[in-house]
Symmetry: C2
Subunit: 104 residues, 2 copies
Amino acid sequence: MKPSLLTFINVFTVEPANQERLVELLTQVTNVSVRHAPGFISCALHRSLDGTKVTMYAQWRSKEDYEAMRGDPRPLPYLQEALTIAKFEPCMYEVVGTFEPAAE
Amino acid sequence: MKPSLLTFINVFTVEPANQERLVELLTQVTNVSVRHAPGFISCALHRSLDGTKVTMYAQWRSKEDYEAMRGDPRPLPYLQEALTIAKFEPCMYEVVGTFEPAAE
């Protein structure tokens, strides 16, 4: 059986005045580190319309691949600045269902 | 300019003993109502590995389409049961970036 992908839905809570800066920092982290890591599959970065959240949705081959990336020192300056303006709530998931529009 | 899609990342917090039931209820809501709504594009349902969360990631054409679906009475029995076992935190987003693995 093919192992299922690991999905991270990481929610950052932020003051609306800092939302744009947080988006920049997470974009930089992804470009300097995450995209280059073995086992990284894809991710999408989201800005909440109310200004209070930024959420990264990311898929990885395995938890081991994700943890190996977390050992990379290059993104640390961006992450440290991010944590001065945001509260970070990470969570690991598996997909249990996907749904398309009904044919009617 | 083409308007961008609206993304909902709706996080439900639950006791681990109730996670499986919550997954069932949200699957039923999607099948009886959401999939049939005009403007629904796709969604994926996720179970956290620690048992404490269930998160629905959904894309819609517009906020108006989503709100029209919320007026449908068919999913209410499932949603009312879900709210007896879970805390619901909805959030509307726009995608600000997508990332693929770097070519190396």
